[in-house]
Every structure is written in structure tokens, then in C-alpha cells.
């Protein structure tokens, strides 16, 4: 929460079309969730960018720490069995 008179920050997620995931597109300020949806609509969806909006108050998002980069993400890539690269995915499956 902000300590001054500023509205809280909200993260905006858009679904661009049916079947796709909501993707983070940016953030906006708003006093409550209803205003957040409207502001997100006005700032991010005026050119047919989306068919659905999610907003989440930024303070509710917990992020990993940059200092843990190595221990969290630097997986041993030589263990090939970790990656599902031995399957062919048919085109008809679409987005999974």
C-alpha cells in the first residue's frame, strides 16, 4: 500500500484471444478493483488487444529474489531426460 494519497498500483494481465493465457502487459493506478479494470481497459485495450482483463494489486504479488538467480534457475542442462524433447507434438494440439 502506498503511504501518501496516491492510488495503489495494479498489475494488468490481458488475454489476447480465446485459448491463450492471460499475459502481463503493464501496470496502472486505481482506487479499487472496479476502477482498475476500467483504467486497464482505457490504457491497454483500445486497439483490439484483448478479450479479457485481469487486475491484481501489485502488493499481492510476491517475487523471487534476483540474488537467488543461480540456485533457482540455473538447472543442469546436461540432464537431457529433464526436457520433453523426444516427443513430436501434432499441430492440431494448438497452444498447450
Amino acid at each position: 500500500m502506498s503511504t501518501n494519497n496516491e492510488w495503489p498500483l495494479w498489475e494488468v494481465f490481458l488475454r489476447t484471444k480465446k485459448g491463450l493465457n492471460h499475459k502481463h502487459v503493464g501496470s496502472i493506478h486505481a482506487a479499487d478493483e472496479e476502477m482498475a479494470i476500467e483504467n486497464a481497459r482505457d490504457v491497454y485495450t483500445r486497439r483490439n488487444e484483448g478479450i479479457s482483463i485481469w487486475v491484481v494489486e501489485s502488493s499481492h504479488i510476491h517475487a523471487s529474489s534476483p540474488s537467488e538467480q543461480e540456485s533457482l534457475f540455473d538447472a543442469a542442462n546436461d540432464k537431457v531426460y529433464r526436457h520433453p524433447t523426444f516427443y513430436n507434438i501434432p499441430d492440431e494440439v494448438g497452444h498447450i
Binding site: 493506478h29 472496479e34 476502477m35 476500467e38 483504467n39 481497459r41 482505457d42 490504457v43 483500445r46
Partner: protein, 248 residues
């Protein structure tokens, strides 16, 4: 120039949208919050776009929509006076917008079922945008009216100041009444819907509707407030100064 009833009807609506759209465009870069700056400009662009298709429809003899928008003087503009009132503070703008959006929405709702093909198509396309305008200005009226003491008092003052410009939207002369009948457009229904909706929202906003029924009119016959001349001077300046600039 003698205008047909259809042309007069289109001009009243197009001029109202254009002038109010221009007024809202004055907020660009001055909105109280970045998000609301963008929101007001979105509404502005919607309204200007709508006026454009109406001008295109009534343009004739090689005229373009630009000629109609930029080369007429104040006395030829038929917009409702409400649309040319200065922006004032954010609350003034919101109340002006709410009172117009409600009228605009119920007018378009009627037009979606009218007997003129062009106007029906126009209304079906525009009403989606105006539905959002109405939601936006209505929500803000409630937020500010039912907000702090300061915002409530400011908004009540905005409402009191602009109220006298609302009756004009429902004043129809004889040819207009005949045209409404020809279209199958029910003027009483539009007015009653407007009264009901504005009453509901303003009540939720804890605002008191002014009791006076006195109304200032004249916009539709070209008798404008002193403000319109200044709007046109700014809006038409480039087009009139560079009449040969075709691509801009």
C-alpha cells in the same frame, strides 16, 4: 442553405459530439491521473469519430466531412449548449459528460430500432462506445458525489451550475417532432429513460437534483454561448489558415 429534416437531425447530433469531443480533447495532458487523462481522450476520440460518419453521410456536392466541421461559423453549428460549456474542474467535466452520455445513450437506443437504415446502422455501431461512456461518467459521478465532503460539495455545485442546460436536449420544434414520428422514435420514452437513469445515479451519488425547470436553449438554432466562438477559433484555425493542405 435549407436543410432537410434528416440533415438537421444529423447535424444536431454530429455537432454535439464534435464540440463535446473537442472540449474533452482539451484535457489531453491535464487529466488528474494519467489513466483518467487517457480515459477522457478515448471518449473524445469516440465522439469525434461518430461525428465524422454523420458528416460524411450528409456531405454533398463534393463536400467532405472536414468542410462541414471546419468551414462553418458558430451560427451554423447546432450542438446542444451543454456540449460547449467549459471543462471547469474534473467534477464539472464528469457531470456535464454524465448528463450528455445518458441522453446520448437513450437516443441511440431508440435509433437502433428506427426506420432509417443509415441511422439504425450508425446507432448499432455507436451505442457500444456510448454504453462505456455512460458507465465511466456514471461511476465517477457516484465516486465523487458519494466521496469526501469536499468532492460531494464540488459535484453538487457542478450539477447546480449546469442543470439549466439539460432541458434543451429534449426540446423539439414541430419539424423535429414530425421527423421523430417518421423514424418511429419515441421522444417521451427517451426523456423518461433519461430522467429515471439520471435520478438513480445522482441519488446513489447522494446529489440533490436542482428543482428549477428553467432551461437555457438556443444551440440548435445557432444561438450559442460566447464559448463556442473560442472553440471554433482553435479547432478550425489550421484548416482555415492552410486551405490547400489536403493531406494532414
Amino acid at each position: 442553405m435549407k436543410l432537410s429534416n434528416l440533415e438537421t437531425f444529423c447535424l444536431i447530433l454530429a455537432d454535439s459530439n464534435l464540440i463535446l469531443g473537442h472540449r474533452l480533447s482539451e484535457w489531453c495532458g491535464h487529466g488528474p491521473e494519467l489513466e483518467q487523462d487517457i480515459a477522457l481522450i478515448n471518449v473524445s476520440l469516440d465522439l469525434i469519430g461518430q461525428s465524422r460518419s454523420l458528416y460524411q453521410h450528409i456531405a454533398k456536392n463534393g463536400e467532405t466531412e472536414d468542410d462541414i466541421a471546419y468551414l462553418r461559423d458558430a451560427k451554423d453549428f447546432k450542438n446542444h449548449l451543454l456540449c460547449e460549456i467549459p471543462n471547469g474542474h474534473f467534477g464539472d467535466t464528469i457531470i456535464r459528460q454524465f448528463l450528455y452520455d445518458s441522453f446520448h445513450y437513450f437516443l441511440l437506443e431508440g435509433l437502433t430500432k428506427c426506420k432509417n437504415n443509415f441511422l439504425r446502422g450508425y446507432a448499432l455501431k455507436s451505442i457500444k462506445e456510448v454504453q462505456y461512456h455512460l458507465k465511466h461518467s456514471g461511476n465517477w459521478s457516484i465516486r465523487l458525489g458519494d466521496g469526501t465532503n469536499e468532492s460531494h460539495n464540488k459535484l453538487q455545485e457542478s450539477l447546480n451550475n449546469i442543470w439549466a442546460y439539460t432541458p434543451e436536449m429534449f426540446e423539439l420544434n414541430t419539424p423535429e417532432i414530425q421527423f421523430y414520428e417518421k423514424l418511429g422514435l419515441n421522444k417521451d420514452k427517451i426523456k423518461n429513460n433519461w430522467i429515471n437513469h439520471t435520478n438513480n445515479v445522482l441519488r446513489e451519488a447522494t446529489l440533490k437534483i436542482p428543482e428549477s425547470n428553467w432551461g437555457q436553449s438556443g444551440g440548435k438554432t445557432g444561438q450559442h454561448t460566447e464559448h463556442l466562438g473560442f472553440i471554433l477559433a482553435e479547432m478550425q484555425h489550421v484548416r482555415r489558415s492552410y486551405p490547400d493542405a489536403k493531406n494532414w
